[in-house]
């Protein structure tokens, strides 16, 4: 009986599983707690690759020259994104931590699957106030998915 009480305290999420197990073991003595291992969803993960749009391909780098840079291309490689519609938001932060710019982009993952899309965005640099006013220093790209911050990547903009 004591084990039954412990089982009933489990989160409601597990109740259907618990029910089926109880049916399967009906009639058996329950002298020890039953360890129920719920299937763990694969953890959401992402990696950020930064590159200069003028460079061939997108070889990840974190140091850029304001003298030669065109756009900052941000590739976010996602893993284990649940099926459905999602919104990725990039917040690009100035060296002083203030938001310089945000970039939102929607993407979809087929229902009932875990997707691994790469979402690509770009932020203009050449000719903007970043180069005109030499806003050099350590910048940050903060990556959010559906309103929740997932990670960040720092990069260096070097003055002319």
């Amino acid at each position: 009986m004591s084990s039954m009480k412990r089982q009933l305290r489990l989160p409601s999420l597990f109740l259907p599983v618990l029910g089926s197990i109880m049916i399967a073991i009906g009639g058996c003595a329950m002298n020890s707690p039953i360890m129920i291992v719920a299937p763990q969803p694969a953890p959401l993960a992402m990696a950020v690759r930064l590159c200069d749009s003028a460079a061939l391909g997108c070889v990840n780098t974190t140091n850029f020259s304001l003298a030669s840079m065109r756009d900052l291309t941000v590739n976010v490689d996602w893993q284990n994104v649940p099926g459905g519609t999602h919104t990725q938001q990039l917040a690009v932060l100035l060296p002083n931590g203030v938001v310089y710019q945000t970039i939102s982009q929607g993407f979809g993952v087929p229902e009932s699957t875990l997707g691994s899309p790469t979402v690509i965005d770009a932020m203009p640099v050449a000719g903007t106030f970043i180069t005109q006013r030499q806003l050099a220093g350590e910048w940050t790209v903060q990556v959010s998915l559906d309103g929740a911050v997932v990670g960040l990547q720092k990069f260096q903009l070097e003055a002319n």
Binding site: D71, T85, N96, Q101, I103, Q105, P124, T128, Q132
Partner: protein
């Protein structure tokens, strides 16, 4: 158990369920319900049907929300409310109330999701968000996590309003997130009901969608007056908005102070907590210098809580406070999770700055937090309006107080340039309008009286970085044959050094009038980073561009405003700055990146003369301070400001016949912005990399007075309101500042 006990338990359960469905009001000052009707100038509603992917239902009287089952497909509703009447509030609770006229089956979950893409009522379909622009994902782009959900009963819940709590979303609309409304869908995790529910739309005869907001208004008209060792603050306390339900009276204010830096946006007094004078709030250790529960409207800081030190910068942030000790922040009492403050919890709470001094005290006329440090310069309609675009929000401000006249206008992409404003009497669209190109490849025209968007067009598939140039029909000569104003925008296609484009758009509709594309039979056109200049005298549009790193392709362009045909181009080297026409339109001054200031004959395109003062060459657009030849031209280099007198030996000026004579220079300013001066002004205003606006004497170049905006920030290009005598500039701390001039 007795029957009466069972009844009591049922009643209790019903009450609990009721509370869950329609949360009881939180303690706060005012509650206002806004109904979305067809009279609303912002917002709208429609539904999108995956069985009719290209059909728009913007005028439907019912909004269907349904799942998919047996061949049917999902249907979703989109709703955005018009919050124009609540421009500056701290949201404590927000609920969308929808009248559900039919429910097919019980037990299905209906969720509200925050939309993250701009859409229009007349353009949205399952496939498209605008008339000709697809959603990134068919069926709408939204946050996957539901803001709230309901599971209505199909017998007892029909024909009544139901509430979805969207408090956190509404708070975010006032603190940095675009308001694109909500998408309502049926959660299909637990099965589908293909018929779903029907909701009255704003076109229905009665029971239209509503949003109920509980909030505190912000204080207004915040002023500072700096003295010797003191700062006197004054403000106006809120009065209830017409038609609102008053829950608790406003009782006063709480004032936070910080020295030599701003009060943090994350510093928020917690609702329900009473603070004592000199206590601190937040990790920034912002100091509570004044708490009033007697509706005070003034406070003089003569050095409480550690004193004021002359010649230091002080920020003051003033929170409205009510009888239940709620503060005008974008959050509630929770420390985490729902109701907790975001990092921008007090970002839009009014603030002001002052520098006490024994000899030269000063203060800002007003300060407004634009929530992003993009350095985009404010657009100024003197005495009437200030519009500043920062990141993906556009703010319409009262130029006298800096208070927003409407909630932020959501733009689909970041805006890097100054919004261009035109008065209703002067433009062809017939009302005050701001034109804003953005990095989402769209150009926006916003009615600055209402905050609604007049039009949104995407003439290109690449971003716009530069501001627009506007040719007003009213001021144009007979050679201008177009029927309306012309909006000229250039692209920033970083992937091409040759095939960028310039578009001429109809100012009334956004329709493309003409297109110039570089490359092919045309000269190559690199990225465009600055606003085109309109030459009314010669009937031309001047555009500058980069030039693939050298002088092999043009960087100065003269276009026919009627056709977009290139009348002239010059290979001057890369240019990121707008050309400046002299007041007589007889000389065009052009700054080549890190090179020379070049004087161009706007008729022939020939070079009249050039000057490179050194210090890394010129940067930023020059300013012309005299009305006629000889022209006094002010320019900036890496760390200096210069003035030259430009004159010609002959009239008209012949190629190479112009001469630049140094007037003064170089006045040292760290990382200067473009200089601002004009005929009739005796000063030059320059934003610095030292956090200051510098006021230079036009005659001598002496950097006589400065105004510190904030420490450790870069100040953008300065604008001037000639009616109110204010200098305005944005800074890399995300704020727009106004100071009275002359300093």
């Amino acid at each position: 158990m007795k029957v009466s006990d069972k009844l009591k338990k049922r009643l209790l359960l019903a009450l609990l369920l009721s509370a869950a469905w329609d949360c009881s009001p939180v303690a706060a000052r005012e509650q206002k319900t806004l109904t979305l009707t067809t009279a609303a100038t912002r917002g709208g509603d429609t539904y999108i049907d995956s069985s009719a992917t290209t059909s728009n239902f913007g005028t439907a009287t019912n909004l269907n929300v349904a799942g998919k089952n047996s061949g049917a497909n999902p249907v979703r509703a989109l709703i955005q409310f018009d919050l124009t009447s609540l421009p500056s509030i701290g949201v404590k609770q927000a609920k969308i109330n929808l009248f559900v006229s039919s429910i097919n089956k019980a037990g299905f979950i209906y969720e509200a999701h925050l939309l993250t893409s701009l859409w229009t009522e007349s353009g949205a379909t399952w496939a498209n968000r605008l008339a000709t622009t697809a959603w990134a994902t068919a069926g709408g782009v939204y946050n996957a996590t539901a803001s709230s959900s309901l599971t209505p009963n199909n017998t007892t819940d029909v024909g009544i309003y139901h509430a979805w709590d969207i408090t956190a979303d509404a708070q975010s609309w006032y603190s940095g997130t675009q308001n694109f409304g909500h998408l309502f869908l049926q959660n299909q995790t637990h099965g589908n009901d293909a018929t779903g529910i029907n909701i009255n739309s704003r076109e229905a005869a009665t029971n239209n969608p509503q949003i109920a907001l509980t909030f505190l208004q912000q204080i207004s008209s915040l002023n500072a007056a700096a003295g010797n060792g003191s700062v006197a603050l004054s403000w106006t306390n809120p009065t209830p908005i017409s038609g609102s339900t008053v829950l608790e009276a406003y009782t006063g204010v709480l004032i936070l102070r910080q020295q030599d830096k701003a009060v943090a946006a994350a510093s928020v007094p917690a609702d329900g907590t009473t603070y004592s004078q000199c206590s601190t709030i937040g990790s920034n250790n912002d100091v509570v210098v004044f708490v009033s529960t007697s509706s005070a409207t003034t406070f003089t800081d003569s050095g409480v809580c550690g004193g004021l030190t002359n010649d230091h910068l002080y920020f003051y942030k003033v929170f409205a406070l009510d009888a239940a000790t709620n503060y005008s922040t974008e959050c509630g009492t929770a420390t985490s999770g729902t109701g907790a403050c975001s990092a921008n919890g007090s970002a839009i709470v009014p603030e002001v700055t002052a520098v006490p001094s024994a000899t030269a005290p000063y203060h800002a006329a007003w300060v407004f937090n634009t929530l992003a440090g993009s350095l985009s310069s404010p657009g100024v309609d003197p005495g009437a309006s200030v519009v500043t675009a920062s990141n993906a929000l556009m703010f319409d401000l009262n130029p006298q107080t800096g208070a927003p006249v409407a909630p932020p206008i959501g733009i689909g992409g970041a805006v890097a340039g100054r919004p261009v404003l035109i008065d209703g009497p002067d433009d062809s669209i017939g009302h005050n309008v701001a034109y804003v190109p953005a990095q989402d490849n769209f150009v926006y025209a916003a009615n600055t009286d209402t905050g609604s968007l007049d039009w949104v067009v995407s003439p290109s598939s690449v971003p716009f970085v530069a501001s627009a140039g506007i040719q007003a029909k009213l001021f144009s000569g007979a050679s201008y044959i177009l029927a309306q104003d012309l909006v000229v925008v250039g692209t920033h296609n970083a992937g091409s050094t040759s095939a960028n484009q310039i578009f001429g758009l109809n100012g009334n509709s956004g329709a493309t009038v003409w297109t110039f594309t570089g490359g092919g039979l045309n000269p190559s056109l690199d990225i465009i980073s600055s606003a085109p200049s309109v030459d009314y005298v010669h009937g031309a549009i001047w555009v500058t561009s980069r030039s693939n790193g050298g002088t092999s392709q043009p960087s100065l362009w003269k276009l026919n405003p009627n056709t977009g045909v290139v009348l002239f181009s010059a290979k001057l080297g890369p240019i990121d700055y707008s050309p400046t026409l002299s007041p007589q339109s007889d000389v065009l001054f052009v700054s080549v990146n890190g090179g020379a200031l070049t004087a161009i004959d706007p008729v022939t395109g020939s070079t009249l003369g050039s000057i490179n003062p050194g210090d890394g060459g010129v940067k930023n657009s020059p300013a012309v301070a005299t009305a006629s030849m000889p022209y006094t031209v002010v320019l900036t280099t890496n760390s200096q400001v210069w003035s030259y007198q430009f004159s010609c030996l002959t009239n008209p000026c012949l190629p190479g016949g112009g001469t630049f004579t140094k007037f003064w220079g170089g006045t040292a300013i760290n990382n200067p912005s473009a200089p601002l001066t004009y005929s009739g002004l005796t000063k030059v205003y320059v934003g610095g990399g030292d956090g200051k606006i510098h006021e230079l004497d036009l005659a001598t170049g002496v950097d006589g007075k400065q105004r510190l905006l904030n420490t450790s920030v870069t100040v953008g290009d300065v604008g001037i309101d000639t009616v109110l005598s204010l200098a305005l500039a944005s800074a890399s701390d995300g704020r727009c500042y106004a100071f009275a001039i002359p300093f």
